[in-house]
């Protein structure tokens, strides 16, 4: 009320041109918001106000925290991504130097057994091919500007990365489908059991020639890979979808968290997969056939998956492992 009166008097004095009774000038700074105070009370939280345009995100005036995420990206993340990948390659090279290619000790028998049927191989190779492209295009986002850009120049690298981004965004979907398929096909064979403990205690026979701990369809090492792929793949899928739909992901801070988890999970899983590719190809004689033709040599199978061979052949003697099927 008194406020109104003051204003009225002010207008009146102006209109009449009176220098009238002294009216205290309102100090506009008395309660003005200042950047210093705001930062003090907000800490690192964003400074937010009101905008008249429809874009609600524009109301965030200053978000100092974004710089922390940027610094993490620029200074640490690429090292955390490259680290495990380089480490696993060095380890595998050392392993190869020490152990060489793991041979079939008893030689090839010439007789083969069906190990993975067409559906299993289709699921595996869909998963594998999409994963490899996702891994390469993802790595390109993290380290391409240092490794590839200087080699091919900005224009070619821009084009390459644009295609890479498209590939990454679209191939994520067949990857997820293959992931579900692989889970459905192989989960039953990957439930941990007592045999795995034996296998682990003997180091999988990886380090010593002639040592072959018993295993069913998948040994403990493979189960580890399987569950890494399933859990890592699920984490990548979830965070990836969140990144594809930033508006649905929540706040930008949530998105930044998803991005960091995505990059670190991808790096870890890629390292695991490099080891997997090694042992499934050059690292072990006879292994590739399992996913190539689907047929493995019987001696290979007996050395690496003894209990599985007994199961499918219906042989007795696998103590504690009753046959899955009665007489055929």
């Amino acid at each position: 009320m008194s406020n109104l009166l003051t204003r009225f008097l002010a207008v009146l004095s102006l209109a009449v041109g009176l220098s009238g009774p002294v009216i205290a000038q309102v100090n506009p700074t008395a309660s003005s918001v200042t950047e210093d105070q705001l930062f003090e009370s907000l800490g690192t939280a964003p400074v937010v106000g009101r905008v008249t345009i429809p874009d609600a995100a524009a109301a965030y005036l200053i978000k100092p925290e974004n710089k922390s995420w940027a610094a993490l990206q620029a200074e640490t993340l690429h090292l955390l991504v490259v680290g495990p990948i380089v480490a696993i390659i060095v380890l595998l090279a050392l392993f190869y130097l020490v152990r060489g290619r793991i041979r079939v000790d008893s030689g090839l028998s010439g007789r083969t057994i069906l190990r993975f049927n067409a559906l299993e191989r289709f699921a595996h190779w869909t998963l594998a091919s999409t994963f490899i492209i996702l891994a390469l295009t993802g790595l390109n986002i993290v380290v391409g500007r240092w490794l590839i850009l200087p080699l091919i120049g900005a224009d070619a690298f821009g084009t390459l990365s644009a295609w890479g981004k498209l590939a990454h965004n679209f191939l994520a979907w067949p990857f997820m489908i293959a992931l579900v398929l692989v889970l459905l096909l192989w989960a039953v064979h990957n439930i941990p059991n007592a045999v795995d403990w034996q296998w682990i205690k003997q180091g999988g026979g990886l380090l010593k020639k002639g040592v072959h701990p018993p295993a069913r369809k998948f040994n403990a090492g493979q189960k580890l890979i399987f569950w890494s792929v399933i859990l890592g793949g699920a984490a990548l899928s979830f965070t990836g979808i969140m990144m594809l739909f930033p508006a649905q992901a929540g706040t930008p801070a949530d998105w930044q968290l998803y991005q960091t988890i995505h990059a670190l999970t991808a790096a870890g899983l890629t390292a695991v997969i490099i080891a997997h590719i090694y042992i499934g190809s050059v690292g072990m004689e006879g292994a590739f056939d399992a996913m190539g033709s689907g047929e493995v040599d019987e001696n290979w199978a007996r050395e690496h998956h003894s209990l599985w061979v007994e199961e499918i052949k219906g042989e007795t003697g696998a103590a504690g492992h009753p046959k899955a099927h009665p007489a055929e």
Binding site: V33, V47, G49, R50, I53, N140
Partner: protein
């Protein structure tokens, strides 16, 4: 060479949004994209202040440090520009920017992003100065004509200042000393690591 900066004297800004309109018009910025905007803090409360904000052309720009294709560059005038030919619209810069500067036209797959667009300090891009290609991608290049950004040039209360950082900081400092108050050089600490001390 000058080190170009923006400074919004919030004690003068009257939230008229002329800077926003001037920018849109000068560069024919498409629908949905705002290179500059006015944000009102403590709206409706005593002592509310409005700040006109765009890309601050940061020192050690965070956008540049996260860009996977390295499409950002800083000119000799300290202006942070980017190359739309190599930009892949990944959106990382928008999560790195403390000022919400990067904008996307929403034409890419999954309905999210196209090539990034932001304030160029009215100085175009990597294309030849005043070429048609430069205008289409980045808008007008006033700096090459010796003119300052239009938003600041046409600010009716001279709240928004553009020009060499030292000079506009001095103008602001004088104002604060003369009138006896100032709400601060908004964004300076975050963008340049230092604020204007009076």
């Amino acid at each position: 060479m000058a080190r170009m900066k923006f400074l919004c004297d919030a004690d003068r800004c009257i939230e008229c949004n002329a800077c926003v309109t001037a920018c849109k018009n000068e560069h024919e910025v498409p629908w949905g994209i705002n290179r500059r905007r006015v944000v009102t803090i403590n709206d409706g409360l005593p002592g509310e202040r409005s700040v006109s904000m765009a890309c601050m052309h940061c020192t050690d720009a965070p956008c540049a440090s996260v860009c996977p294709v390295n499409c950002f560059y800083t000119t000799a005038d300290g202006v942070v520009l980017h190359n739309k030919d190599t930009c892949i619209g990944c959106g990382y810069c928008s999560f790195a920017c403390p000022f919400g500067a990067p904008q996307y036209p929403q034409t890419a797959n999954f309905g999210t992003r196209g090539k990034m667009d932001k304030c160029t300090y009215c100085s175009g891009g990597p294309e030849a100065d005043h070429s048609q290609a430069e205008y289409v991608k980045y808008g007008a290049n006033r700096l090459a004509e010796g003119k300052l950004p239009l938003c600041a040039e046409m600010c009716s209360t001279k709240a928004l200042l553009a020009g060499d950082g030292d000079i506009i900081a001095e103008i602001y400092r004088e104002r604060v000393v003369t009138r006896g108050y100032g709400s601060g050089a908004w964004g300076w600490r975050t963008a340049y690591g230092e604020t204007v001390s009076v």
